[in-house]
């Protein structure tokens, strides 16, 4: 249903170019299938307010039935780092139930994903990487959608 995904993406794009919640901004959506957004977190000492984080959204032809792939990007110019969070690996992969095939439903959209990620970061109190981060980054070959995360930490 590529037609459906394109239509929906266009609608979402139109909506996003209107107003967005504070801290979220659209960087580029030239390719309808790949968007980049910038995120900043107010009010959390772990994340300085002037620091922005770059998210990359990749949509498949079966969006919105299938979840988009959302990862943080690390860039040099402009400088963008991967935020420090116990559920975000240093290669940018995010462990969020919303992004998994089991937790995703078409009722969500790009904006709601950004808000969820933003609140996940804003409510974080542990400035650390996930356990097994180095090993995961070194040995992971799967796309994020294929990884089976165990969502068992409700406190973050």
């Amino acid at each position: 249903m590529a037609g459906m995904s394109s239509k929906r993406l266009q609608k979402e794009l139109a909506k996003i170019q209107g107003t967005l919640p504070p801290g979220i901004s659209l960087v580029s959506a030239e390719n309808l299938r790949e968007w980049q957004m910038d995120l900043s977190i107010p009010d959390n000492p772990i994340y300085p307010p002037e620091e922005k984080y770059r998210l990359r959204f990749q949509f498949s032809p079966s969006y919105p039935i299938e979840a988009p792939e959302v990862v943080f990007l690390s860039l040099a110019n402009p400088e963008r780092k991967i935020p420090l969070h116990p559920h975000i690996y240093t290669n940018g992969i995010i462990c969020l139930d919303l992004l998994d095939s089991q937790g995703w439903s078409p009722v969500h959209n790009v904006e709601s994903i950004c808000i969820s990620i933003q609140s996940m970061l804003a409510g974080n109190t542990k400035a650390e990487r996930p356990p097994g981060d180095a090993e995961f980054v070194r040995s992971n070959r799967q796309r994020p959608r294929d990884i089976n995360f165990l969502y068992h930490d409700p406190t973050v």
Binding site: M1, M4, K7, R8, K15, S62, P64, S105, P106, V107
Partner: protein
Amino acid sequence: MAALPPRQQFQRRTSPGEVAGQAQTPASPVRTRSATSEDSQTLFLNSAQEEPQQSQDQQQSSVPPPRHYQNNDDDPNIKKCWICFSDATEDTPETSPWRDPCPCALVAHEECLLDWIADMESPKNSRNRPIGGPKIECPQCKSEIKLARPRNYVVDAVRGLERISAKAVTPGAVMVLSGLLYNSSIAWGIHSIYSIFGEDDGFRILRPILLNAIRPPVDSYTGDLRQAAQTAVGVLLDHLVHWRLYLGLPLIAPVVILSRTKLADAVLPILPIIFFATQQHSPDDGLDFAHWPPSASLSFAVLPYIRSAYNLYYERVWAAKEKQWLKQIQPRNGQGQNDANNADGVADLGHLDQAAADDDNIFEVRIDGGLWDDWDEDPGQPQPDAQNNRAAPPPMPQRQPQAGAEQAQPPPNIADDRQQPQPNAVPPPAQNIQQPDRRLSFSPTAIAETVLGALLFPTLAGLSGDLLKLLLPLAWTTSSAAVSLAPSALAFWRPGLRVPARGLLQEKWARSLVGGCLFVVAKDAVMLYVRWKIARMHRGRKVLDYDRRKAGARSGRV
């Protein structure tokens, strides 16, 4: 600016007012005017005090404009599909009908819904879900979305079968494995019976099993249903009659193994009581204590007590000394790390039990009161004793049972409690129990050794019995009537010529029993001697110097 249509946003609406206001009060320091529209927001905030009044003025002059929404999103009357995000306004004749499947406000196109549901039910999502999918829930209100599928009974039947067979795999595997264990236990039980009781007696005991073992399975009679039923019932009855055999034989193996642990200490002495309690009064009265030689069932029943008595004796008399000898060969500075595992004299003997000590996969278990290495044999069989005893008299009334010895007696249970010394040729488990810190180490090798040792014991007991027969004078081991015949104890069993034995050792099972006991005692004695000797020889060790003279000559040094 006045030309702006009234439906503009509120902010813009005040702009005409601002201009008017500006004209009226140019002197207000609060205002920072700018004509560009980007700042209209700022202006709006700054002049909040004044604008409302002006906008109210404006409003009074016109009818309140109808609420217009900037885009279709905000209009609650326009349906929006939550899957594809398109509105009802974009419906073409080809779009699928709208559906409202749940109590909340979400509506969607039917095709979108079906696509989404198909994805939810697909195999990639449902590793462990039942076939046919889980309940599809609305993401917002979580109520079930119901589908009407066309029914096809064949499809339903096949799906039902699939579900059942998926559940039946585990029980099936368990059954196969347990059948495997049961049959191997029976096979080993048969072997041990033979080694204890000898050929004739053993065959007599085991005969009911033999027929059943090679009986064709019932389903080969399916040609004739009635005959099949009769045969099945016959087989069942046969099993029931000889149930002691079918229950007791496979139990021999595990009980023998368990008896090597101290677990048995608590349980075993109880079993003979059960035996005595259930013993029927049969003509060949096995309970006759006054009559020598005792019946086989009686002797085996008494074994747990003999075992406990021997254990006690060993503890009292030898255990302390053995501990002392072992300690003497330790390094003088304290306990080596092998303490927990091994008697160290092993170094001299170089046995494989050493491997157990150095094994990498040692699990340390803190168990109170030490649970390892008993060279115990178990008289757990008195129970099968009793049971088999009863089975035998009916089928074999004509035999004069040697004081009721017939039934499937368990292998000899030699009362021997030994805190494990080193293995000899026979592999008892080689673990030392004397551990002051009460730690135990398991390793797979040690467990295997225990099990093997336990399983071999009946065979060894039988062999020792044979050895006894060879060593002892014939008069003791054969009945008087048969002494004149060929020196074979088998003559003793010749049907019709049965003479009750006069002495205990004239029966093969008795010889095996006594032989096993003696074997254990002898082994213990030898181990004690060896330990003692090693402890003594420990002092005499010397380290040899490397012989430099020869080396010097060879290399030509001066």
